[in-house]
């Protein structure tokens, strides 16, 4: 019975993140448009876009190899698996032990590896430009993320996200290291999701784009999968920050099915708050020059390192 319950939670979790991901993006876009005093498209527009792209025929460049066609599926799969392992509404995920926070970070790294390769496959200058810059950004964002994971793991005594959330739920008090980790994690989340000020998700100016340049050659179902992966990744990061820093409302492990509606409600609330904050953050900043990004991400790396150092010095900080 417990197994069925866990399986149910895991299954719901996988479906919920997939189903809600385009909505999160839609809400962010809508809010941004309203803040710019535009009307903006409906929050459901990302679903329509995805449905349209999935139905269209895929146009593949003549020089593209099998990697170009396989990559979207791999990117989607790695991102989805990672997203399915972050507790959203309940901590008792059946498979949460199969990958800890370090492995989740690395899974996103796998997705990026294939995305960057796919960008270089057709052999156009823009693809190479996007891949090159993406790898530069990730070469700072990933170590920053690992150091932040270290901070969290040292506070909670575990890299297991379910356990971390459980510890946070019991309350660990206000900690300097956690404050540093929160700021750092937000910076990393902005960079990893190609948002302003690191990258502009809605740009049409070729030289300012990173993520969009990599996927320039994609169309149809391949593009839909990549867009969906990007949306999943955004949801993943908001869920991650929510489950670690505002774990309230998470159904604890073995709490039974009655806690689930409450957990789901709390989760949707957190997503809405996260999306609003992101929209506010994005409209209040301008995009940086590419070579300012290392300073921005270097700050996250230093915050993570500082947090970890503090925890090495004293477990109470």
């Amino acid at each position: 019975m417990a197994l069925i319950g866990d399986l149910l939670i895991q299954g719901t979790q996988m479906t919920v993140v997939l189903a809600v991901a385009p909505l999160v993006t839609g809400v962010v876009r809508k809010l941004k448009a309203r803040l710019y005093r535009k009307r903006g498209a409906s929050v459901l527009q990302p679903y329509r876009d995805l449905a349209r792209l999935f139905r269209k025929e895929a146009v593949v460049a003549e020089g593209a190899s099998w990697l170009f066609r396989a990559a979207p599926y791999l990117i989607f799969a790695a991102t989805w698996v990672a997203a399915a392992l972050v507790p959203t509404f309940a901590t008792g995920l059946l498979f949460s032990w199969s990958a800890d926070l370090i492995a989740i970070t690395a899974l996103l790294g796998s997705a990026r590896f294939f995305l960057a390769l796919a960008g270089m496959d057709v052999g156009t200058p823009f693809g190479g430009l996007g891949s090159s810059r993406e790898m530069m950004i990730s070469s700072l964002a990933e170590p920053a993320m690992i150091m932040l994971v270290f901070s969290l793991a040292l506070v909670a005594g575990s890299t297991q996200l379910s356990t971390v959330a459980g510890v946070m739920l019991q309350g660990v008090g206000l900690r300097v290291s956690l404050a540093l980790a929160l700021i750092g994690l937000m910076i990393v989340a902005v960079a990893e999701n190609a948002r302003i000020p690191v990258d502009n998700p809605s740009t049409h100016l070729e030289l300012t784009m990173v993520h969009e340049a990599m996927v320039l050659e994609y169309s149809g179902r391949h593009l839909a999968l990549i867009e969906l992966s990007a949306q999943l990744k955004l949801t993943l990061y908001i869920s991650l920050i929510a489950c670690v820093f505002v774990p309230w409302g998470l159904a604890p492990a073995g709490a039974g099915l009655t806690h689930m509606p409450l957990g789901l409600l709390a989760y949707f609330g957190k997503l809405a708050v996260g999306a609003t904050l992101l929209a506010l953050f994005e409209v209040s900043l301008a995009k940086m020059r590419v070579f300012r990004v290392p300073d921005f991400l270097g700050a996250a790396l230093m915050l993570g390192l500082l947090g970890t150092l503090l925890l090495f010095v004293s477990r109470g900080l």
């Binding site: 593949v60 498979f95 790294g109 156009t124 190479g128 790898m135 530069m136 050659e217 970890t308």
Partner: protein
């Protein structure tokens, strides 16, 4: 000769019936192949014969090593070498593990070379030294006294040196050979001093005696330093790495694979043997220099790999990075053991040894792939390649596995060992000394940086060489390599995947090595449900490569099936979009140096003095704009350049010595004598 060995052993009263005698027999076999090789080299098919024989010998060595991993340690003394010591041989789990790495690498390289070696234009310069190199590495691993160890070590250096300068036509290779032999000699000298200190004034050169004898704190500190410098120079620790990126790529590709994937591991074996075993229990601070060297080596190695255009040099620098990662694991193990945390030390040592195995697998694979590309195109420079995925599908597929594995991507093997290293770092707040408390997080950050940069480096290598459009005619005309080479690469790629999705059995096997060295072992992973690995405790951390692998396959497959079934499966080929201005010239693609440009600017402008000089023609002038990249290795600038200047100055001063009068010579001899007598009188 094997009979002689048996007879001698019987005379000494020991019974050489186990895997040790298998390995000793193998060394003799390698020597025999090496001696027969010059004659065979001239015959048609002779090279296949030599490599085939080497393959069989190495496979037997592999089996002996596997047996040695489970059997009890064996010892054997033969009346060879120095008469008052004899030649001691011992096969314990540590030797067996490294013998496994050496012979696995050796078997793979031999099999690969059956096909690859056909293209060798001077086989007589390669064939004799290849089996000698393999035999020498095995000799180092089974040696149990300082003399045999150093004999094997020097033989290994000399055989590989001969292979480095096998293609002696280019000045670059000759320079590589020169730098290599100088550094190798220096390393051997350091090890010799370390052994001399351990043996003490009584001259107890057998390892068993060294281990039993008590050593003072000063002696063991010196031994640690000498072992770090001596073994580190062979392994490629910064700043002793300068020979490695010159020498490894200069050799034929299957030898490059052996040097990078296997010989550096023999150096690590030497370090472990001396520091973890012979020098006795570690002090609390021993981890500090090892950790610092490892962290710096990992980051600097991969940064320089990122800046290279030569494919084999990229791989050589990436070897330096991986050696750094291994040394971080070893340093953590020393730190834990020196502070009484044996269980955590077992985790750290397991992580390091697991990475030894993994690096041997994927670095061999990657060098074989680079060799295949070199054979198919005649090019080593990334700037001349491109689009090989269309022309060499098998090589491209296995190289993708290798590139993903070395970039520490789950679910492959590089990630499993890196994950274990991170878990060991997370245990280190338990360490009491302040130096370690401050150093370990910094090393963790360096390691994370190195992992991320490695991914960037291998996206660049793979993306430029195998993806995109061919940049030259040679790349456009490339042909897939022969069956032997492809088979070997597929085998290694399979092993990379297997070690990644089933890390539990590997960790359990490594405990045979870890528990005698650390006095503790990791929890048994074989009992954990679903083949997960749980290094410390279930609530602390766990990872399941198999499940992650299966999940990714299922999700990707499910997505593909659903989309093709219910959405659209139509596909049309069209010219590339490229924002509406597709440029036909393949030179408009991103090149290797343009791909590295952002990282060069961010990381390398200070340390490596990387500069970009752009010369723009004046308006109206139609000549092309030019960009010139420059940069250097800080080790050369800060250490070796002053050193060579100093040596030059000293030798210029010493130039007067051959031209003295007989009286002055006698005066020098006399004062030297007085000085030595004084020293002797003052010596306590």
């Amino acid at each position: 000769m094997a009979d002689g060995a048996t007879a001698a052993a019987a005379a000494l009263g020991s019974t050489p019936t186990g895997p040790l005698s298998g390995l000793l027999f193998l060394i003799v076999a390698f020597a025999a192949i090496a001696l027969a090789a010059p004659r065979l080299a001239r015959r048609p098919g002779g090279s296949a014969l030599v490599y085939g024989a080497s393959f069989i010998a190495a496979t037997l060595g592999l089996l002996s090593a596997l047996a040695g991993l489970v059997c009890a340690p064996e010892t054997l003394v033969l009346p060879l070498g120095l008469p008052w010591i004899g030649a001691h041989f011992r096969l314990d789990a540590l030797s067996a593990l490294f013998a496994l790495v050496v012979n696995l690498g050796g078997a793979a390289a031999s099999l690969y070379a059956i096909g690859y070696g056909r293209h060798e234009h001077a086989p007589e310069r390669v064939l004799p030294f290849f089996p000698a190199f393999l035999g020498a590495m095995n000799l180092v691993l089974v040696a149990a006294d300082a003399y045999s160890f150093l004999f094997g070590w020097e033989l290994m250096s000399l055989a590989s040196w001969a292979l480095v300068i096998a293609h002696d036509k280019s000045a670059e290779n000759l320079k590589a050979g020169f730098v290599y032999i100088v550094m190798a000699t220096f390393g051997t000298l350091m090890l010799m001093l370390a052994f001399a200190l351990l043996a003490g004034p009584s001259g107890a050169y057998a390892f068993a005696d060294m281990e039993r004898a008590p050593h003072g704190a000063l002696v063991t500190a010196l031994v640690l330093g000498l072992a770090l410098v001596g073994a580190g120079s062979k392994a490629g620790l910064v700043p002793l790495h300068v020979w490695l990126p010159l020498a490894h790529p200069a050799a034929p590709s299957h030898v490059s694979a052996l040097m990078s994937g296997v010989m550096t591991k023999v150096a690590i074996y030497g370090f472990i043997r001396i520091v973890f075993e012979l020098a006795g229990p570690p002090d609390w601070w021993w981890g500090i220099p090892v950790l610092a060297a490892g962290g710096i080596t990992a980051t600097l190695g991969v940064l320089q790999a990122m800046l290279q255009a030569d494919m084999k040099r990229v791989l050589a620098f990436s070897t330096i990075e991986n050696i750094g990662i291994i040394f971080v694991g070893l340093g953590l193990a020393l730190a834990f053991k020196g502070n009484g945390l044996e269980a955590a030390g077992a985790l750290a040592l397991t992580a390091g040894l697991f990475h030894v195995l993994n690096h041997a697998l994927f670095k061999n694979l990657l060098f074989f792939g680079a060799g295949a590309v070199l054979n198919a195109t005649g090019e080593r420079s990334l700037e001349q390649l491109g689009g090989l995925i269309h022309r060499m599908p098998t090589t491209a597929a296995v190289m993708l596995v290798g590139a993903a594995a070395i970039s520490a991507l789950p679910p492959l093997n590089g990630f499993a060992s890196e994950w274990l290293t991170f878990q060991a770092i997370l245990l280190s707040p338990e360490l009491a000394p302040w130096g370690l408390k401050l150093l370990v997080p910094a090393v963790g950050a360096l390691l994370a940086l190195a992992a991320a940069l490695a991914a960037a480096c291998f996206v660049r290598l793979y993306g430029i060489a195998f993806l995109g459009r061919p940049r030259t005619g040679a790349a456009a005309e490339a042909r897939e390599v022969d069956r032997w080479s492809r088979g070997t690469m597929i085998g290694l790629a399979t092993l990379c995947v297997l070690a990644g999705i089933l890390p539990g059995p590997v960790i359990d096997a490594l405990q045979q090595v870890v528990s005698p060295l650390m006095g503790a072992r990791m929890p048994v992973q074989g009992d954990v449900a679903w083949l997960s690995i749980i290094p410390v405790g279930e609530s602390r951390s766990s990872y399941n490569g198999l499940l992650v692998f299966v999940f990714i396959l299922i999700s990707a497959g499910l997505a593909a099936v659903l989309i093709h079934r219910f959405a659209s499966r139509a596909l049309r080929r069209a010219p590339a979009w490229d924002c509406g201005f597709p440029l036909n010239d393949p030179r408009t693609q991103y090149s290797a140096s343009s791909f590295a440009q952002p990282i060069r600017r961010v990381f390398a402008s200070g340390l490596f003095r990387a500069r970009e000089d752009v010369t723009m023609p004046p308006p109206g002038d139609l000549s092309p704009a030019r960009i010139r990249l420059s940069g250097d290795d800080p080790a050369w600038r800060l250490i070796y350049a002053p050193l060579t200047t100093m040596v030059d100055a000293l030798s210029a001063r010493a130039n007067v010595l051959p031209h003295l009068t007989i009286r002055q010579y006698l005066g020098i001899v006399f004062s030297a004598l007085i000085l030595l007598l004084l020293v002797l009188a003052i010596w306590p």
